[in-house]
């Protein structure tokens, strides 16, 4: 009985199913590519100073890069954040009890290239605003502001 029914539905019913599945697949792929327009980033906040010779063990790899540019002798990891950046959705981290806000926004995403806007707001005032293009494996270092006996360096690295 069941076999007989299937044969009756053949082949137009199967073709309808085929087209419905194809349409759903196209829609799903389009929507998923929109939904997953995001990248993983790692932000490390480092205090660099010329006092002492302490290198944070977790900064060993980054230190290889840092030492070619800077003459600081001590690097200490203050904070590490893994941030997921979605298109046009700002992600922020705060420091010094909310007096400093570090904000990153993914503003563009292309194959192997992410455009990220970075803003730093200090005491309610925007002190820094930039837009950078991140490629996989590239590190952006933003440094300079003084902190106690050293300077602060933000290291942004993207994985996508």
């Amino acid at each position: 009985m069941a076999i007989r029914r299937i044969r009756k539905l053949n082949p137009s019913f199967l073709r309808q199913i085929f087209f419905i599945l194809i349409s759903i697949s196209i829609l799903f792929l389009s929507l998923s590519s929109i939904t997953y327009a995001q990248i993983q980033t790692r932000l490390r906040v480092v205090r660099a100073s010329s006092i002492g010779h302490e290198i944070d063990p977790s900064l060993k790899e980054l230190h290889k890069e840092l030492k070619t540019f800077f003459s600081f002798t001590s690097y200490r990891l203050l904070r590490e954040e893994n941030l997921t950046l979605s298109l046009n959705k700002p992600v922020s981290i705060t420091a010094r009890e909310g007096r400093i806000i570090w904000e990153a926004t993914l503003v563009g995403l292309h194959r192997g290239l992410a455009e990220v806007r970075i803003r730093v707001v200090s005491e309610g005032r925007e002190t820094f605003n930039t837009q950078v293009r991140l490629t996989p494996g590239r590190t952006i270092l933003v440094g300079g502001p003084r902190i106690r006996d050293g300077v602060i360096i933000y290291a942004l690295f993207a994985k996508f």
Binding site: K8, P11, R15, I26, L109, T127, Q131, V132, I140
Partner: protein
């Protein structure tokens, strides 16, 4: 000398073995040297075969709608269509394609999707490939950008006023 081809009706009568003796003799003489009529007769034979088998199946199983589709497909297959024509015929039984309104609707949907995706994933072409920093603004710092391609590191250094 080539004779004039017989009318299709006469050819059908001959095929159905309903032609008179005189007509049959005339036609058989004509068929010796007329490839076109020969082909027409051959096609009639193919069509008959295409219809005969499914009808017999239908008689046994009483699944007429399905059998009619098979007949249609059999006839169309025998017409040796191009690949595009074959694809179109394969789609034809689908109600989606019977209703022609779906074709422009689907095309519009595809265009809209393409526009949406291209807007969302717009390629950045306004500056050179090697540039990492697109723009930089700071009302309180002097800024230096240093870029090393080998190490894949870009440094943005902010100089406070007291440093300069």
């Amino acid at each position: 000398m080539k004779n004039h081809c017989p009318s299709p009706k006469l050819l059908e009568r001959y095929f159905d073995q309903e032609a008179s003796d005189e007509e049959r003799t005339l036609l058989e003489n004509h068929l010796i040297h007329c490839l076109s009529c020969h082909e027409r007769l051959k096609l009639m034979g193919i069509l008959r075969e295409a219809i005969k088998k499914p009808v017999e199946e239908a008689m046994e199983k009483e699944t007429f709608p399905w059998v009619w589709e098979k007949i249609e497909m059999g006839i169309k297959r025998e017409q040796k269509a191009s690949w595009w024509e074959s694809f179109r015929l394969w789609l034809e039984p689908t109600p989606l394609f019977r209703k022609k309104v779906w074709i422009p609707a689907l095309a519009t949907l595809m265009v809209l999707l393409l526009i949406t995706v291209s807007v969302l994933f717009k390629k950045i072409t306004s500056y050179s490939e090697g540039t990492v920093v697109k723009y930089l603004e700071s009302p309180i710092y002097d800024v230096m950008v240093y870029q090393l391609e080998k190490q894949k590191v870009t440094i943005i250094w902010l100089f406070e006023e007291s440093e300069s």
